[in-house]
Amino acid sequence: MKRSQNERVAELTLSLVALGSLGILTLITVFIFKEGLPALKEIGLWEFIGGTRWVPSKKIFGIFPMLVGSFMVTGGALAIGIPLGLGCAVYLSEFSSPGVARLLKSMIELLAGIPSVVFGFIGLTVVVPFIRTYFGGPGFSVLASSIVLGLMILPTMVSVSYDALRAVPESYRDGMMAVGATRWQAVRMVILPSARSGILAAAILATGRAMGETMAVIMVAGNATAVPESLLDPVRTLTSNIALEMGYSAGIHRQALFATGIVLFFLVTVLNLIAHAAVRGGSGR
């Protein structure tokens, strides 16, 4: 009797907590849309997304440069972070001794605990001057943001794909060894393909992280509201746009920033849908 009552209480509490997080998500969504939709209506969806000029003082709100900026910076970060992270995970899982793997993995996971402002600071004092000196341009650029973000997504990339690789049955390694394969051949022919869906999940999580990151990017991107013409040009991302201007905005300007949030919301949702479809498709085979 007592026991079943406890059970009921626990069940109720836990379901309330679960519903609570769902409720918060709903509230955030409703709030963003409520605040942002009027701006979209007034500016016009196409003008807002396709407009290449962002001049709040003249009530011109086009986020096309930021949209392009977000994609460029995220793409650049993935181009750096995925090969590095996956290579690292393959080394830890397939080549290093278990002791080395434990040590290196915990150190890489420590990277995740470094506040993004510190990454930004290092980017500002090391990466930006380096690019300015050796590649030209102002240094504050797509390239600088990509490098900093590429490092920031490493922990996600390494630990999620490492787990995916460790989940590949040991018998696959034995089986490949029995046909005379070297470790690298086994990795290439069987282990990477077997871990494919997990690696894809890692890449997509990393993409979400790169797209959402704000502080570190603001510090090294230059934040100009023009479409960058090269990797060495300054860039402003969607998240930076919100963070930079939210503090002093009012009226339609403020609403336009929320509308930027709506666009970001859709991007991330689409990304998640792709992730789910890909993971399901991957494991179905």
Partner: protein, 262 residues
């Protein structure tokens, strides 16, 4: 002296000759002075209780124990007269000569085709027509081709467990080896699939030297030409299967096959 004794015991013509072979896991003496031979076109069953070293012995024949930490060996295993533990032996070459099939089918989450082709690609074969010819030939040799209805691109994991094990045998023979090692290949299979694999072994026997480790006494009795009985890392008795099962010379062998020693 030891060498001489071995030479008397085992025929020079045998496909594989094992001479005073010892294996240590660190300080643990897992295989003790094994001297035995495996005949061409014959099936040799290795029986013995769990932990007697029979799997370790099997895995010594294609050097699968190499990567285990602390393993060292002494003595010789000669394949066509060549010591596979000798200097300059390429294990990739060795494993193309000595195929292996495991207890649970090792089927990769790839297509049936790629499951066989990976063994060939490891050997450096990349030509597409050659690959698909050999894959087809290997699948036909294990009676899997017709069941696949000529579609080797289907996912291998969708096959039944018995067919998965056949696929593994197809992979093992794709490199046209001399020897096939089977480590309890039927222990995960139902009786009908087991029978199919045994029938297949009889067919393959015409081309290969087959060594099978088994826990199943009836399987050893009905599906082998020679039987080796091992106990505590030692070879107790070996000879024609009929002799071992009807007229064992050693009391320990008799005890094991009659179930008194499990």
């Amino acid at each position: 002296m030891e060498e001489n004794r071995s030479a008397i015991l085992i025929p020079e013509t045998a496909k594989i000759r094992v001479k005073d072979f010892n294996l240590y896991y660190g300080g643990f003496h897992a295989l003790k002075d094994i001297t035995v031979s495996f005949e061409k076109n014959a099936i040799t069953a290795v029986i013995g209780p769990s932990g007697c070293g029979k799997s370790t012995f099997l895995r010594s024949i294609n050097r699968m124990n190499d990567t285990i930490k602390g393993v060292s060996t002494r003595g010789q295993i000669l394949l066509d007269g060549k010591d596979i533990y000798g200097p300059g032996v390429d294990v990739t070459w060795l494993r193309s000569r000595v195929g292996m099939v495991f207890q649970r089918p090792v089927v990769f989450p790839l297509s049936v085709f790629d499951n066989v082709a990976c063994a060939l690609r490891v050997q450096g074969i990349t030509d597409r027509t050659l690959l698909s010819d050999i894959v087809e030939e290997s699948l036909k040799a294990v009676d899997l081709w017709d069941e696949l209805k000529g579609n080797p691109k289907q996912p291998a994991l969708s096959l039944s467990l018995g067919n998965q094990q056949k696929l593994c045998i197809a992979r093992a023979i794709s490199t046209r080896p001399d020897v096939i090692l089977l480590d309890e290949p039927c222990s995960a299979l139902d009786p009908i699939a087991t029978l199919r694999i045994e029938e297949l072994m009889w067919t393959l026997r015409e081309k290969y030297t087959i060594v099978i480790v088994t826990h199943n006494m009836q399987q050893a009795a009905r599906a082998s030409d020679y039987t080796i009985f091992m106990l505590d890392g030692q070879l107790v008795e070996w000879g024609p299967t009929r002799d071992i099962f009807t007229n064992p010379k050693d009391r320990r062998t008799e005890g094991y096959i009659t179930g008194k020693l499990a």
